[in-house]
């Protein structure tokens, strides 16, 4: 799919669009010849596939927005119930105008307005279509279908940086994807800790903020050969009075391991906003 501006409004209509798409594709796919280069959402892994292999997440997985009937989250990570905010957290939250409440013309979500990076952790919960995981001796890589983005998780035993965004020679720059380390908690659970996040991005689609010092914990649990569950928790005492359970994201093994392209194209998004989404050019994000 190469309709990037759909990405900007997709969160409003995701369920409906995907249901219609899946139904249409199901009908088409029953008779059409198969190309090894195409992703067929109706070609799904059957059952759990047997026990999970030990300490192995490698391969390509379908997420909730893939059209492959992947189980929905118990807690919607795009709009989770947040713990009480600190005064600073409330102030930041009040500034954010998510698409779901403010429409394309009224939102200041920089991804919706410009295709700016979601940043982590939102990029693990929003537009989760497909994901590939691979490892090297010292790193695990998470490669996302949406935006063709990859992030790296160091597994060589290093510790997270303690000075990100601060002053001094030893300070690290904040990153959209932060700094990540990971370890196997048991044979089926890979735990990732991340900090040093670019503070202008949002933690959730609904506009909850995070600080540069937020510490996000991801737990990738391989339930079976065909099932993977990710749970995400954020501890950010500057902005929240308690740890924030952002939610759970489910994945299913893709039999032919193939993904489609799906990305947000900035120039096309601008054209969409000009012609349809925000013809008056209000752009509330410009005042950020």
């Amino acid at each position: 799919m190469r309709h990037p501006y759909i990405g900007a409004i997709a969160s409003v209509a995701t369920v409906l669009v995907l249901s219609v798409l899946a139904a249409a594709q199901n009908t088409q796919q029953n008779n059409a010849p198969r190309s090894p280069w195409k992703y067929y959402p109706a070609d799904r892994a059957v059952g759990d596939g047997g026990p999970a292999p030990k300490r192995d997440l490698t391969g390509t997985w379908a997420g909730a927005s893939s059209g492959a009937a992947v189980p929905r989250s118990r807690v919607n990570p795009k709009n989770p119930p947040a713990p009480p905010l600190t005064p600073l957290g409330q102030q930041l939250f009040d500034r954010n105008k998510p698409l779901t409440k403010y429409s394309p013309a009224g939102t200041n979500d920089m991804h919706v307005r410009y295709c700016d990076p979601y940043g982590f952790p939102q990029n693990m919960t929003n537009e989760i279509r497909g994901m590939t995981i691979t490892t090297t001796p010292t790193r695990t890589f998470v490669l996302l279908q949406y935006m063709d983005l990859w992030r790296e998780i160091w597994t060589d035993g290093r510790t997270l940086p303690t000075n990100v965004g601060g002053r001094g020679r030893d300070a690290h720059d904040p990153k959209y994807n932060g700094y990540s380390i990971g370890h196997w908690e048991d044979d089926y659970t890979f735990v990732v800790e991340t900090t040093g996040l670019t503070p202008t991005t949002w933690a959730t689609d609904s506009g909850y903020p995070h600080s540069v010092d937020a510490r996000v914990t991801e737990r990738f649990h391989r339930d079976s050969k065909n099932d993977l569950t990710l749970t995400i928790t954020m501890d950010d005492p500057k902005l929240y009075t308690k740890p924030f359970y952002i939610g759970d994201v489910h994945f299913r093994w893709i039999p032919n391991q193939q993904l489609d392209d799906f990305t947000c194209i900035p120039s096309e998004l601008q054209q969409y906003l000009k012609e349809m989404g925000d013809p008056a050019g209000s752009d509330p994000s410009a005042t950020r």
Binding site: D148, W154, R158, D173, Q257, I265, S267
Partner: protein, 279 residues
């Protein structure tokens, strides 16, 4: 480097940077968060050891000393496409930023193989090879994008964007094979024509055939040759790129991203204050 304002400016310096990029892996400290990886930096034997067999995995810097052939004469269709392109930052045919329609000015995807040149934002062409079942995965520093190279023996798609065929993609569809123990050959087609071939604005058609040949000459050196065969737009094939990559000591990349909101703001407030659109 996350300053996309610089991204727009950097195109001016692109050729210079790409044709004579300095090695960045030879112990010189790099700014930003790279101290994060200092604990993991391995010792570097000197001289380098032999190339491991059928293994490019790890992170590389480049391209260095790129020496491409001249672009051959275009077909009439190629010329027609080329005339529509208003390049920015190319030494041979540069427009002002406000007049250019280079898609990367708004951070649209560079696409393949333009992303290999890795100098639209900077000369930092970090490239990382990994693997998954039946695949080699290549991740790029610039824009943090990735592509996959299938090694299961499948044939490339014969067509794209027609019924039952896959859609064209910015990075195309790729298959790879080891020609010998040190040379990986990758063939790619099925490209999205919106992306430019290079910063001059040369076109490439959806069914252009692009071949990369990666030869690991020793533990730390990797040579890349890229040829383009696109009879729709060019009268003959040519070597688009001939460059070296060097083993990255720290094995880590900075986030080298073009941020659309910053790039568009820069274009609109500084380079195109009147709002005149080149398209």
């Amino acid at each position: 480097m996350r300053n996309s304002i610089l991204a727009s400016l950097a195109a001016v310096l692109a050729l210079l940077a790409a044709y004579d990029a300095q090695p960045m892996a030879q112990g010189r400290p790099r700014s930003g968060g790279e101290e994060f990886v200092s604990e993991g930096v391995p010792r570097m034997p000197n001289p380098p050891g032999p190339a491991p067999k059928r293994d490019l995995s790890g992170a590389w810097v480049g391209p260095q000393n790129n020496k491409p052939d001249r672009v051959p004469p275009m077909t009439a269709a190629g010329e027609a496409q080329f005339k529509l392109r208003k390049a920015y930052g190319d030494a041979t045919r540069s427009e002002s930023l406000g007049a250019s329609n280079d898609p990367f000015i708004t951070c649209d995807p560079l696409g393949f193989p333009r992303d290999l040149l890795a100098h639209a934002v900077s000369s930092r062409g970090g490239t990382l090879f990994g693997s998954a079942p039946n695949r080699i995965l290549i991740a790029y520093e610039q824009q943090r994008v990735w592509r996959e190279i299938w090694t299961d023996g499948r044939a490339l798609p014969k067509a794209v964007d027609v019924r039952d065929a896959p859609e064209s993609r910015y990075f195309g569809y790729s298959v790879g094979r080891w020609e010998n123990d040190t040379t990986l050959v990758i063939d790619t087609t099925g490209l999205d024509e919106r992306a430019w071939l290079d910063e001059a604005g040369h076109p490439r058609s959806a069914m252009a055939h692009i071949q990369e040949r990666y030869t690991r000459t020793d533990q730390y050196n990797l040579q890349l040759t890229v040829t383009v065969d696109d009879p729709k737009y060019y009268t003959k094939p040519w070597t688009f790129m001939r460059a070296n990559f060097y083993w990255m000591k720290a094995q880590d990349f900075a986030e080298t991203l073009c941020i659309p909101s910053e790039a568009i703001e820069y274009r609109d407030t500084l380079a195109r204050p009147s709002g005149i659109d080149a398209k």
